[in-house]
Symmetry: C2
Subunit: 149 residues, 2 copies
């Protein structure tokens, strides 16, 4: 619980310094950059980044303000919003990505052997399958956030 937070913090810092992006914003842009045509629905972004829907709305607002993405209604489903990576957005990803990869490599991958990576991948895959098999989605409305004090 300390390795992950130091890595997280370092990555955050690099992204902030090198492109004024939060990690979440970077994830969004990266996902778009991977997607066909650089287009995704809001929901797909949210599912990918584990965010709440409202969180994606918030971040998309920020990214749109900066001209890194655009939002437009989907032609086939009037409810959906299609998020599109702009040229500026693509350029920013290209600018930040190498340094990001480098940071992660230096902090996480460098001390590992190929054997470790294989094992890690294996293990994480098993955990993922296990979670998918029995998703603990219950969200009982007990004991809300604010105490009534």
């Amino acid at each position: 619980m300390e390795v992950s937070s130091l890595l997280q913090h370092t990555v955050d810092e690099h992204l902030r310094a090198d492109g004024d992006l939060s990690y979440v914003q970077f994830q969004i842009l990266a996902r778009l950059s991977d997607a066909k045509d650089g287009k995704l629905r809001m929901t797909d972004l949210a599912d990918g980044v584990v965010y709440s829907r409202s969180g994606i709305t918030y971040q998309a607002g920020l990214l749109e303000k900066r001209g890194l993405i655009t939002r437009s209604p989907a032609p086939d489903d009037e409810r959906s919003v299609i998020v599109t990576l702009t040229d500026a957005g693509r350029a920013l990803v290209a600018q930040v990505l190498p340094g990001h990869v480098d940071v992660v490599r230096r902090l996480l991958f460098e001390p590992l052997q190929q054997r470790d990576l294989t094992t890690l991948n294996d293990v994480l895959g098993r955990v993922r399958d296990h979670m998918r098999a029995a998703p603990p989605r219950s969200a009982k409305p007990r004991a809300r956030r604010g105490r009534t004090g």
Copy 2:
């Protein structure tokens, strides 16, 4: 980046439902419960939980309001604040801990073999050492948080 967040989310939910605690608050209480006499300085808590100092102050305020901890000046250093776990705090940890352990076991440890755990421990230890050896603490004051919009 999905395994960890689902685990995190599930753990959060359990702690909230079972003791109205955030994960961070649980970490603080657990750390105190491990400490000798149930006493720690604010700084030691912050270092353990990776928090900023101000974050610990905030959470300690909440926990103190609920009577789970107390804060008192350190006898040997007038600057320090000693956080002490109250009986109520200790009781709450005892109430929440079994379920917490159970959640983590079911989600994370169950699908793993003993061999995996050994490897994971090994690998994480190596990463940790690597990070400690070359701590990337720089915090350049470039590109602050708020854009001047």
